[in-house]
């Protein structure tokens, strides 16, 4: 197992090199110039020249790439063009927000997705099956933006149950340690902040979870249906095992493998930036940050942010692969 993990980590190197080449050169091909955008209407030749020189943008592209790679090898993602801060500092400030939101959204998705998937599969062609699959279809196709605003209008403006946007109410003081607010509130035993943080995360997490829930539900259903028709299930039933044991102990465990893959992928997607959800709910995460960077052509943020997320994505895939073995010992690690 350890050798397998080590091998997988080694494969990371060419993957990351490939990603760095693609990101770097695609950015350079994309029209738009950070210096022009920084100065806007007031750009003068002199000012543009000075900025390009400061940022090293007037050096040949291959030299710029070399510098980028050299820094990358030292684990340095460089400095942003707009805020003149270390890209890593900026990621550290924003990533916990995204991670927290993604984890909660994914927990919601797993719970409801798998639950609805199982019930649909075990009661195939029943009213519940049709309803939950219709729900999944709606979940996948509902515009996030619209859903977010509707939730806000109902639960915040009209009912006043949930806060509209942000991570914490103004006036709630929380000593941040990890920047994961829920975790920090628990660590500092600040229960008022914990309640406030949980209240704030409900709507964005529900909004973000709609698509993954739908995908997980459909995947669970089809995978379960396939497994339920296998001979060993019939055997299990014939042995007189209870319906619960057959479904959860025998069928589900085998049906979960493709579902875990799906969940892993969805996790990667939400981590890479729930741009819309973050924008609507004023959630200060990496998605909105990277999107703004694209609009401003902040090369350093885009490069650094993409490299970070790519590495994370690859790592999640690795974890998923390891999970396979835990779920199903028949899959060996070669």
């Amino acid at each position: 197992m350890l050798a397998y993990i080590f091998r997988r980590i080694l494969i990371l190197i060419p993957t990351i090199l490939g990603i760095s080449i693609i990101v770097f050169f695609m950015l350079r091909i994309t029209p738009g110039d950070p210096a022009e955008l920084l100065l806007g209407e007031r750009a003068t030749d002199e000012a543009l020249h000075q900025i390009r020189e400061h940022l090293g943008l007037n050096k040949p592209v291959y030299v710029q790439y070399g510098m980028f790679l050299k820094r990358l090898m030292k684990g340095d993602l460089g400095e942003t063009i707009w805020t003149r801060q270390k890209v890593w500092t900026e990621i550290k400030e924003r990533f916990p927000a995204t991670m927290e939101l993604s984890v909660v959204a994914l927990l919601i998705s797993c719970f409801f997705g798998i639950l609805f998937g199982i019930i649909s599969a075990t009661r195939q062609y029943s009213v519940f099956d049709y309803l939950s699959m219709l729900g999944a279809l709606i979940g996948v196709s509902m515009p996030i933006f619209w859903l977010g605003l509707v939730l806000m209008l109902i639960f915040s403006l009209n009912l006043g149950w949930l806060p509209m946007s942000g991570r914490l109410s103004v006036g709630i003081d929380l000593k941040t340690i990890t920047n994961f607010y829920i975790l920090d509130a628990v660590l500092t035993q600040n229960w008022a902040a914990l309640k406030d943080a949980l209240w704030h995360i409900i709507m964005p997490a529900v909004t973000l979870s709609t698509i993954p829930t739908a995908i997980v539900a459909r995947m669970t259903r089809s995978s379960m249906l396939e497994v339920l028709h296998q001979d060993y299930i019939k055997t299990a039933k014939a042995k007189g095992l209870s319906r619960f044991t057959v479904t959860f102990k025998h069928a589900l465990r085998n049906a979960l493998i493709p579902v875990v893959t799906t969940i892993g992928l969805q996790f990667g997607v939400t981590l890479g930036g729930a741009i819309l959800t973050e924008t609507i709910f004023a959630w200060p995460g990496v998605g909105k940050w990277m999107f703004d960077a694209v609009m401003k052509r902040d090369y350093m943020v885009i490069q650094g942010g993409t490299m970070f997320i790519a590495m994370l994505f690859v790592l999640i895939n690795l974890v998923v692969d390891v999970l396979y073995a835990v779920i199903n010992p028949r899959i060996s690690m070669h």
Partner: protein, 536 residues
Amino acid sequence: MLKKITLFSAVLLFLFSSSMVAAAPKSGGTLIFGRGGDSVGLDPAYETDGNSFMICDNIFEALVFYADESTALEPGLAKSWDIAPDGKTYTFHLRKGVKFHDGTPFDADAVVFSIGRMMKNRNVKFYGKSLEIPAQDRTPEYWVSMEMDDTIGSIEATDEYTVVFKLKRVEAPFLANMGMDFADIISPTAFLKNPKEFIRMPVGTGPFKFVKWVKDDQIILEKNKNYWDKSAGPYLDKIVFRSIPENSVRFLELKAGNIHICQFPNPADIAMAKKDKNLILPTQPGMNIGYLSFNHTKEPWKSNLSLRMAIAHAIDRKAIVDNLYQGMGQVAKNCIPPTMWGYNDKIPGYSFDLKLANEYLAKAGFPEGKGLPEITLWSMPVPRPYNPEGLKIGVAMSADLAKIGIKARIVSYDWGTYLKRQREQPEDMDLFQLGWTGDNGDPDNFLAVLFDGLASSSIRTQWKNEEYHKLMLQGKQTVDQAKRTEIYKKALQVMYDECPVIPVAHSTVIWPSLKNVMNFKLHPTSSVRMKNVWLK
């Protein structure tokens, strides 16, 4: 009897006037300001965006202040100044007893340090212990684009509270420039402690102190209890600037009473705000201009005045302002906003008159548009304060031009490319939209910077007119404002006659706020000053 009547009227007058006096400001409370984006950094010398400046406006101060509701100049950290007869030496006498938020005293050396650090050749002299100014790891963009290195020769602290600026040339807008954000005075001690971190830990002399910054979420400021000006404010205990990127959500937060002020709402929400009894609508004509220019580096635009006039009279600018600015603007007749001194109200503006446009077109040698090949109309891809809907406005203009037989094709690029290519004045550009938001309230900041093509190849319009150029130089070199007013009025007349660009509109800024927010005023420079604001 007469005495009684007088007494009676005196009492009445007293009662009436006391009811007229606004309620006395109340101290305390936290104001939450909802805005569209986070600040980039908080070192005024290096910032370029409004969201950064609005925080700096409350933490830092400059030698010169702009008046509360105009860009008239008032004493700031300098209580007075003298200008030598040759117009090249400015001596600032500084206020005594002012302290930075870190407790260090504000003095002449702080001024030399703050301004001197932006100079390319640091020709500076301190009065006390000479301070080592670290090398800049960044271009001070405003300093460079305002060509301050060509203006300021040296800065010297001649005693603890006197600073002398020696200029390389007579530059009338210099004093107004010294009121801009980039010229704010910072605490040298705080800066030198950690130069790289200063943009996140700003220390100035202003009415509010920096407390905390959660990136993309909020910036918290608190009252500076030792503020030097005891005459009024600061009243608020705390200000929280919250970033809420989505316009409609920000407005909903205001409606729910969760924020006090909502920056840049959607125009459609303004109508809703007007009906809401809990909201008020502070409004300010923006110090800006959106214009449509001709490519003056190529024919027929360069020398065919009649053709330019034809286009000016063919475009229905009122319809554009009514429908695409959604009423949040006014049709422009000058290229400076009406709130600015130097504005020439005698200019009638180009009327929307198709008959006249057709006559000009015939005179230009293209009767009914015949003989004129399809032209390109560059339309802005992003909303700017002076132009909310570049592409739609382009379509409206093109439809107007079609009415006199001119075919115009809309061209647009991403914003960075648009700006870059426009500066190159390419052959495939005939007409282009652009605009400007003023920096310091000086007409020179519009008229010379945007239209005097003879001054530099960086001028975006590249219109080259000898008479106009002379007037611009005269404007820069005349210190007396009354004389300058006449110069700029004359320059605006030249522009109107020569029609190098078509002024389209000045936009209006409306930021709805809760009813209990008192004394919040939008400033023409779009700076956000919270010193006199209080909560009822």
